[in-house]
C-alpha cells in the first residue's frame, strides 16, 4: 500500500469562515486518500500556518517553517516556556522508553512492555493542557501518559522493575499504571476496557456538578486508545452514551495503523475513524499526530468544549510507533519504507526545529534539556535498582478496601484481624 508523503494533496477547506467554536470541528473531509496528513480541522487564527489560507493545506511543522512567508513578527502558537515544556515532556517520554528497552534486554524488566516511541506528540499535546484533577485513562501503552500526567519517572521505573516503591507498589506493572494523586486511572490490558471507565469518570464530573452541587466541577477526562480498539463494541457503546448524556470526555484515537501485526486497513471496513464521531452526534476530527503543535491546537478546542459542557469529541491522531507492538514483537510485517517515512517526521526533531527557527530558544538550551532528562532517567533507574522488592506480607494486601473481605477464619474472628494475616502465613 502506498502512502503519500507528508505533503499530500490537500483539498481546500471550506471552513475558514466558520469561526464559531462548534462548527469548525465538524469539518468534513472530502474523500482524499486517508494516508498521509490529509486536510483536517479548522484553521485557527495562526498565521504560523498562514499558507493554508491560500491553498487550504495543512502541513507538517517542518514544512510550514520552510514555506513561511517572511512577515513581521509572526504570531507563534506557543510561548517559549510552553515550547520548552513540550520539548522536555516529549524528550522525557522518548528517553524513558529507550531506557525501558535497554533494561528489558538486560533482564531488569519483564513481562509485557509496550513502548510509545514516536507517539509522544499525542501524549504531550493533550495531557499538558490538563489540570491535576482532570483524568487520563489509557491502555497498556501507558508509560508516557503517566509521565506526562505528572507521575514521577522514579515511580514509573520502579513499578516496571516490580519494586515496592513503584506507583502501584509493584502490584500493577507496565500495563497497569494507576495514580490517585495525578488522576491517572490506568493502565488497562484489555483494549476498549478503559473507554467505559473513562466515560464513567466523565460521568462523575457531571454528576458532581448536577447532583452533588459542586458547581465549579468541570473536570475533563481523556481516553487514549488505538486504531484496533475502534472496532471493539465497547467503543461504540461509549460514543453513544457519552454523546447521549453530553459527558465531558475527549476520545483520543492514537491511530498508528497497526494492531500488533494487523494493519488497520485490513481490519476496518471504513478506516477513517474520525467519521464515526458524527454518526453518534459528536464532532470527529483528524489531526496529524506527529506534530505536537497541531495536536495541541485540536486538544485545546476539544478540551474546552468538554469543559463548557458541550459534550464529547472524537479526535483521531494519525501517528506511528517506531518500535514494535511490544518488546517481544519481532515487527516483521511493517514495511521499512513506511517506517522510514514516519521516522523522518519524528515529532521531537520537528519541534526542535520549530523552536530554533522561530527563535524561541537556542540549541544550547535544548541540549541542556536533553542532558537534564538523561540524568532524570538515569536517576530513575538507579532508584529503581536500589529499591527493595515487595515483602512477602504485601501479597495479601490491598485486595479489598475493607479487608474483612477475606472472611472469617477458623477461630471465628475476621481473618484480617489475625496478626499473622499479612505475613502470608494466614491460610486463606
Amino acid at each position: 500500500m502506498a502512502f503519500s508523503a507528508a505533503t499530500a494533496n490537500f483539498n481546500p477547506l471550506n471552513t475558514p469562515s466558520l469561526r464559531s467554536h462548534d462548527n469548525h470541528l465538524v469539518t468534513s473531509v472530502s474523500p482524499s486518500p486517508f494516508f498521509g496528513s490529509t486536510a483536517k480541522l479548522r484553521l485557527s487564527s495562526s498565521p504560523k500556518f498562514n499558507v493554508h489560507r491560500r491553498s487550504g493545506s495543512v502541513v507538517a511543522v517542518s514544512e510550514a517553517v520552510k514555506e513561511k512567508k517572511p512577515k513581521s513578527t509572526p504570531n507563534l502558537l506557543i510561548t517559549k516556556e510552553e515550547g520548552l515544556e513540550l520539548y522536555e515532556d516529549m524528550v522525557l517520554g522518548r528517553a524513558f522508553e529507550d531506557m525501558c528497552a535497554q533494561m528489558y534486554y538486560r533482564g531488569k524488566m519483564f513481562g509485557f512492555v509496550h513502548l510509545y516511541n514516536g507517539q509522544e506528540a499525542v501524549s504531550t499535546g493533550f495531557i499538558k493542557l490538563l489540570k491535576q484533577q482532570d483524568s487520563v485513562v489509557s491502555t497498556y501503552r501507558d508509560h508516557v501518559h503517566a509521565l506526562s500526567k505528572g507521575v514521577p519517572a522514579r515511580a514509573v521505573m520502579s513499578e516496571l522493575f516490580g519494586k515496592t516503591t513503584g506507583c502501584c507498589r509493584g502490584q500493577g506493572g507496565s500495563m497497569h499504571m494507576f495514580s490517585r494523586e495525578h488522576n491517572l486511572l490506568g493502565g488497562f490490558a484489555f483494549i476498549g476496557e478503559g473507554i467505559p471507565v473513562a466515560t464513567g469518570a466523565a460521568f462523575t464530573s457531571k454528576y458532581k456538578r448536577e447532583v452533588l452541587k459542586e458547581v465549579d466541577c468541570d473536570h475533563v477526562t481523556l481516553a487514549f486508545f488505538g486504531d484496533g480498539t475502534c472496532n471493539n463494541g465497547q467503543f461504540y457503546e461509549c460514543l453513544n452514551m457519552a454523546a447521549l448524556w453530553k459527558l465531558p470526555i475527549v476520545f483520543v484515537v492514537e491511530n498508528n495503523l497497526w494492531a500488533i501485526g494487523m494493519s488497520h486497513l485490513r481490519s476496518t471496513s471504513d478506516p477513517q475513524i474520525y467519521k464515526k464521531g458524527p454518526a453518534f452526534g459528536m464532532p470527529g476530527v483528524h489531526v496529524d499526530g506527529m506534530d505536537v503543535l497541531k495536536v495541541r491546537e485540536v486538544a485545546k478546542e476539544a478540551i474546552s468544549r468538554a469543559r463548557r459542557g458541550e459534550g464529547p469529541t472524537l479526535v483521531e491522531c494519525e501517528t506511528y510507533r517506531f518500535r514494535g507492538h511490544s518488546l517481544a514483537d519481532p515487527d516483521e510485517l511493517r514495511d521499512p519504507a513506511e517506517k522510514s517515512r514516519y521516522t523522518a517526521r519524528d515529532p521531537i526533531t520537528a519541534l526542535k526545529k520549530y523552536i530554533i527557527e522561530s527563535n524561541l530558544a537556542s540549541e544550547a538550551e535544548l541540549k541542556a534539556i536533553d542532558k537534564k532528562i538523561d540524568e532524570v532517567v538515569e536517576d530513575a533507574v538507579e532508584f529503581a535498582d536500589e529499591s527493595p522488592v515487595p515483602p512477602r506480607s504485601q501479597l495479601l494486601e490491598n485486595v479489598f478496601a475493607d479487608p474483612k473481605g477475606f472472611g472469617i477464619g477458623p477461630d471465628g474472628r475476621y481473618r484480617c484481624e489475625d496478626p499473622k494475616f499479612t505475613q502470608g502465613t494466614a491460610h486463606v
Binding site: 494507576f178 490506568g186 493502565g187 488497562f188 454528576y207 452533588l212 452514551m241 494486601e397 473481605g405 471465628g412
Partner: protein, 362 residues
Amino acid sequence: MLGIVRQKMLEQSLKKIRPAVAVLRSYSSAAKQMNVREALNSALNEEMSADSKVFLIGEEVGEYQGAYKITKGLLDKYGTERVLDTPITEAGFAGIAVGAAYYGLKPVVEFMTFNFSMQAIDHIINSAAKSNYMSAGQISVPIVFRGPNGAAAGVGAQHSQCYAAWYATCPGLKVLTPYNSEDARGLLKAAIRDPDPVVFLENELLYGESFPISNEVLDSSFCLPIGKAKIERKGKHVTIAAYSKMVGYSLKAAEILEKDGIDAEVINLRSIRPLDRSTINDSVRKTNRLVTVEEAFPQHGVGAEICACVVEESFAYLDAPVERIAGADVPMPYAANLERMAVPQVEDIVRAAKRACYRSVP
C-alpha cells in the same frame, strides 16, 4: 457490629416464631410480612436518600420501574440524574459505573439477569475486582452489581445459569446471595455501604415471596455483616448448607426429615465470597454429616468448595462422605418436566440427607 447483635436477637425471635402459629400472637415484634421485592426496594430507597452518591444504572430501572419492579418509584423520587435508564450496553454501562466508582460515587448496577452480566464480565472482574490490588490501594471501587441469578420458570438455557461460583472464584469481589427479606434488606444495605465491589445475586422466584420480618429489620440503619452465614434451623444430625432459593427447599426438607427422626441443621450461607468457613465447620463438627445444596452446575461449584474446606479443616469429624446436591450438568432445558428434573427438588435434598445418615441406599 450492631448488625451482628441484631442478627442474634433476630435469630432468637425467629426461632420462637417457627414452631406454632399460636405463639405468634404473644410476640409483637414479628408480626409484619414483607416480600423480597419490597425489601430490596426499601433498602435501595433508604440508601439513596441517606447518601447522594448512590445512584442506579441499568436497563429499565427508571421509567419501566424495573424489569422486575425492584426499583419501583425510585425514578419519581430521585430523578433522572440518579436513576439512569441505559441503552442495551452491558459492557458500556458496567464500565461507566466502574469509572464513576473510581471517583467515589456509589453505583448500583442492575443486570436484568446475571446471564447478561457475561457481556460485562470484563468490567466486573478486570476493572472492578482487581483495581484495588493493581493500584495498591489507591483506587477502591464501591460498586454493587445486582440482579436476578439462577433458574426462573421456563426461561430456557440462556436465561437460567447461576453465577455464584464464577464470581466467587475471583479475589477482590464479594459475592452475596440473600434468601429471605431480612437477608435482602440487610445484605443490600451492607453491599451499598461496602467500599469494595459486591456481586449481589438475587433470585427471581423469591421476589414475590413474603417472609415475616421484625422491627429491627425495618430500621433504616439495619445492616447484616458480609461474610457471616446464618443458621436458619438448628439441628444435630446432619448439616445442610445452601444459598438463595435452595435455603427454602432445605427448610422444607428439614421438616420432612424431622418426621423420620433426622434433626437437620440448615445453614443459609448468605455470603459466597467470603465463605463463612468457620460456621460451616463448627456445624459439621457438631453434626458430623454434611449435605451441600445449590442450583448451579455441579462442577467447580460452591458445593465443591464447601466440601473441600470441610475436608481440609474438619476431616476427622466427618462420619459420612459429603453429599453434594446441584443442578443437572446440562444447559437448562425448556420443557417443564425436564426443567424440574434439572433443578434440585425437596425430595432430592431429603434423599441426600438420608444417605448421609446411612438411612437409605440411593
